[in-house]
């Protein structure tokens, strides 16, 4: 969905910084602006399996510095599948502190293979892969809390 207020804020920022071109892409949401030409707003397609995390639109205009972090940008064209947390809890990469991680970047991953554990209410919940491919990225550190829908892994699909 296009949030008109958000769009306006983006356009204001673009003007304030005298940009002639600006492109923001964030998990299925994409804005491209070219000054002197037209304004193009489009929603890029995302793999149906990945839960799209909505962009937080604060009431406050975001300070220029807090613009969406471009670092972990996911290139949709690369056919990356995103595994998100299905429950709130604590994220563990290994079955116990001394064991090796279930998966490491570069490992090949099978459907149904355990990727991690999320502990919730003292229960250890195995999180299994819905995808086949190669583990491209781990987004969360071992032992960290995760919320619903938070990105855990990116898998380059086979």
């Amino acid at each position: 969905m296009i949030n008109v207020d958000e769009l306006r804020q983006v356009l204001d920022l673009a003007r304030d910084h005298e940009l002639t071109e600006l492109e923001i892409e964030n998990e299925g949401f994409k804005i491209r602006i070219r000054k002197g030409g037209q304004v193009i707003v489009q929603q890029a397609p995302v793999p149906a399996s990945a839960a799209a995390t909505p962009t937080r639109v604060a009431l406050a205009a975001p300070p220029a510095g807090s613009a969406p972090d471009p670092a972990p940008a996911i290139d949709v064209d690369m056919e990356l599948a995103i595994v998100t947390a299905p429950i709130v809890g604590t994220f563990y990469r290994a079955p116990d502190p001394n064991a090796p991680a279930f998966v490491q970047p570069g490992d090949s991953v099978k459907k149904g293979q355990t990727l991690c554990i999320i502990e919730a209410m003292k229960m250890m919940n195995n999180i299994e892969s819905e995808y086949e491919g190669t583990l491209a990225k781990v987004f969360v550190e071992d032992g960290q809390p995760v919320q619903y829908g938070e990105r855990l892994f990116a898998i380059k699909r086979a």
């Binding site: 937080r56 639109v57 009431l59 429950i87 919320q147």
Partner: protein, 457 residues
Amino acid sequence: MFKKILIANRGEIALRVIYACREMGIKTVAVYSEADENSLHVRFADEDVCIGPPRAAQSYLSVPAVISAAEVTGADAIHPGYGFLSESAYMAEVCEACHIKFIGPDPRVIRLMGDKARARRVMRKAGVPVLPGSEGVVESEEQALKIAKDIGYPVLIKATAGGGGRGMRVATSPAELSQAFRTAQREAEAAFGVKDVYIEKYLESPRHIEFQILGDHHGTVVHLGERECSIQRRHQKLIEESPSPALSEKLRRKMGSVVVDAAKAVQYANAGTFEFLLDQQGKFYFMEVNTRLQVEHGVTEMVTGVDIVKEQIRVAAGERLSFKQSEVTFTGHAMECRINAECPDTFAPSPGTIHVFALPGGPGVRVDTAAHSECLISPYYDSMIAKVMVHGRDRQEAIARMRRTLEMTVIEGIKTNVSLHLKILAEADFVAGRLSTAFMNRFMNATAAGRTLAEAV
């Protein structure tokens, strides 16, 4: 005192709890579904955790999701607000097991009061008048007919797990009773998973009178007077006020002491509401106890000056109530109108984006809301978007104040029931304080008749 409270709710009541926590120097954790990511309660809590998708069953009603959120954030207490998990004995038990304080009564009390037939028995034992009716669950049609003959028609058949008017049927004759008994059982099973029903004497045009109580873990229970909530449509309250125009000082004292004694008998701690029906002869009959903060608690706060949410937090932390019954005073008259996102004629919900949202101030006005200009009213949850409360020297001033406040309320982009409230406030019976739970039916019929007449002309 708690260091961090997780608020297992959304909307205005989540903000209300944040107000209290901030004033007490307690950190807050907001939980939210994906539909509420841009909500004010998320913005103003110190921390926030997304706990699930928009459907309440998978987010706000999910005990594991809420408890896990409390665990990962290190919250030492959970305030459940109203609705959602606020009357879940299971939730309160899990909290206990996880060493997180549930800000509400003990699970034992929640469970007892949740079973309407059992609560009725216990209350009768504690000296609270109840309507003549069955001793607990009525098993068969034959038994139902016998009881109805004893107490006299009309009778009301109610689900023991009931609420919101579901599983509830009136019968005025034996023939109607057979039919109504089976319907009520069916509805009860569909709505609550339990088909148990019981029977009570049915009152014609009673008033809904409820008493706000507060108890601590040191044996003290106080009441904060009554609220009259007779203006209801399909068991949904629309307008609440305190004091009730129907209660004499003598009756208030009598009901207050009955309520306090009964609460003490079940060792009630935290906030609760005793609901009664009051008949036209001034006799009152116990209906049920709501073991949680009530939507309309603000009305009582305005006339007593007590901050009920802060007291809830204090007593949950083991502190004593900050005042005695003798220190409770009642000043003036307070009234609340619930503003819903709905069509004022058809009552169809009206979700969407609010483009303009402006409410007036001035003396004696309080508005609790999570809405604001350009906010989205989501279709997933309750349609109540604001509680407009006023306080005046007397009932007349309170009504005048409510009228000018609603007249000067600007909400655009969605439909609301503001115009319905203004019509009710102009009704002669309402102005005269002649209220009953039958008011809205009569009002709606009169309005419908007026419309038909106007169309005929």
